[in-house]
């Protein structure tokens, strides 16, 4: 157990190091930071001095080491475009994105699981066929098209929901939350539906196929033979055994929700990190790109690690077969 945890931790650290290296290389590829910091009229002497002061003349490993040390302390430099420390900008935008992601994940779970269970139990009913067809169409519709359709229906035609922004927010310390106001919740509805739809179809299909699998097993047949009620069989026995893969997928997808929130935030002008990142890409604002990448990677790696360790805790079989446990990530 201990050796496994240590190995996974080392693996995670290695991935983070690679990501940090990629982020760091961004600075080299996407232009000279000095050019981005000084004006047109700066002399060669100024530039040279600035280069020296920023440590850009140091050997590559020294610069990379400094980048990693700074990144560990949450410092990523000054945004070229906004001329403010990147960590402040990200901290400002983070609550908006995380609230959106949280609501979307919950939404996807509380609708996806029941629909999946239904489709798994009544596999041949027309409702579940219809649901599956709709979910295929849902997968084919790009996120932003869904968002636009929702805006058109609910904001332009029916005039019932706002189409952009977060509504009124309440500041609690450095965290700004939209959960405490009515307009905040209103503003959350459309973006969170948009963001959750893809995950919803994913969860629904996953639960459905897992249910179909479980329903075939002997212990379900035995439970039926014992005369247990359908309800007890479906939810008490079958669903319980489908939840481990569901939890894994949902956990791993929290990361992609953060990444996909870039699109949703653009459609709904949601003032989160995704919007910040996309502006940074448009203007090649490298410090923000590097910080965002590192941060998202950190979230990904932590969740991956957590899910792996949870798996290990949940499923006792893995403790015997250590090889499978380590190989699961691949």
């Amino acid at each position: 157990m201990v050796s496994y945890v240590i190995r996974r931790l080392l693996q995670a650290a290695l991935v983070m190091l690679v990501v940090a290296f990629v982020s760091f290389s961004l600075f080299r590829f996407a232009g000279d930071p000095v050019n981005n910091m000084v004006g047109q009229e700066a002399t060669q002497e100024d530039r040279r001095e600035l280069r020296e002061r920023l440590g850009l003349n140091d050997p590559f490993p020294v610069q990379f080491g400094r980048f990693v040390v700074d990144a560990l302390q949450g410092e990523f430099g000054i945004s070229y475009r906004l001329q403010r420390p990147v960590e402040d900008l990200i901290a400002e935008r983070m609550p908006a994105t995380l609230e959106l992601v949280l609501v979307s994940a919950v939404l996807a779970l509380i609708t996806g699981i029941p629909l999946g269970v239904y489709c798994g139990i009544h596999r041949d009913s027309w409702v579940s066929r219809a649901l599956l067809t709709v979910s295929l169409i849902g997968v084919s519709l790009p996120t932003f098209v869904i968002g636009i359709l929702l805006i058109y229906l609910f904001s332009v035609q029916m005039l019932v929901l706002p189409s952009f922004g977060r509504g009124e927010v309440v500041q609690i310390g450095w965290w700004s939350t939209g959960f405490l106001t009515f307009s905040g919740w209103q503003a959350l509805i459309l973006p969170s539906i948009t963001l959750s739809l893809f995950q919803l179809t994913l969860i629904m299909r996953l639960v459905r196929s897992e249910m179909l699998e479980v329903m075939r097993t002997d212990y379900i047949k035995f439970a039926r033979a014992r005369g247990l009620s359908n309800r007890a069989i479906n939810f008490g026995h079958a669903l319980k055994n489908t939840l481990v893969p569901v939890i894994t997928i949902v956990g791993l997808n929290i990361g992609s929700l953060i990444a996909f929130s870039i699109i949703t935030e653009t459609v709904f002008n949601w003032p989160g990190m995704g919007l910040l990142f996309i502006k940074a890409v448009q203007f090649a604002d490298v410090p923000i790109m590097a910080a965002y990448l590192t941060m998202v990677a950190f979230v990904f790696v932590s969740i991956n690690l957590l899910v792996d360790l949870l798996y290990y805790a949940i499923d006792p079989r893995l403790k015997v077969d250590r090889g499978t446990a380590a190989g699961r990530l691949s």
Binding site: L26, A30, G31, A259, I263, T266
Partner: protein, 319 residues
Amino acid sequence: MADAHTSAPGLLDPLRRFLDGDVWASFKRSPVTVGAAAVTLLYFLAAAFGPWVAPHDPFDLAKLDLLDSLIPPAWMADGDPRFLLGTDDQGRDMLSAIIYGSRVSLLIGFASVLLSMVLGIALGLLSGFVGGAVDAFIMRMAEIQLSFPAILVALLINGVVIGYFKTHPEWQVDQVTLAYVVLVLSIGLSNWVQYARTVRGSTLVERGKEYVQAAHVIGIHPAKIMLRHILPNVMGPVLVIATIQLALAVIAEATLSFLGVGVPPTEPSLGTLIRVGNDYLFSGEWWITIFPGAALAILVLAVNLLGDWLRDALNPKLR
């Protein structure tokens, strides 16, 4: 030995089986697939012959008339029979713009699928054939890249390439070409992993087979064995992946263009059309954004259905 030499079985096998009747029969049996194939073909033809089939040339500024701007679709009260799907703010015929847009979208889609396919096959072959440290390195890279959503990787590459060309003005590329290059690079480079993994898997299987050992024994150069002997035999699944990836590439292109880091509005793709049209949604001109959106969704759905069917028909084990 002679068998492996004379033909490219991997490439021709699906075709032969197709003509044998099994696959063709399953194609004919599934009306959904026939429909999807018809729709896809229609898009391809419209894209290939865009300038000849489009009712108007949406980029010929001389022919645009501002009096024709913002006309609703032909069947609505203020519609104009000349413009079946209405016009945008500059008087461009939406149907023609969509045809030209599909052309751009599909072009970028094909180019980036080609790029990721070539890259993925090369790395997969190398990985499976050489093995050892090379294999470990390539597969580790694949794992790391795979743990991030493709769209994020694409955005990142996009930002880097934009930054690179900004600071290297000596390349002298115009806006539109640059946008194409950026898109193809970012979508292509973010999707090679699937191919590499599949090709590596089949290469590992093929490597142990007798014809490869025989080729080794008679002293054929390893590079030649890799390309001439193994490659044709691992192509089957690649074609299936490529079909599904085409749909994903078209979505990725549209998404990037919608996010404003793709094709510029002067020569719009479907994603750019949706983005531009989005601004008119609130003033009630829904057709400027909804029609390109529908065109995109239908194209992607058709290609997806085709890919699903192809996967089941060619290789049930891929599921």
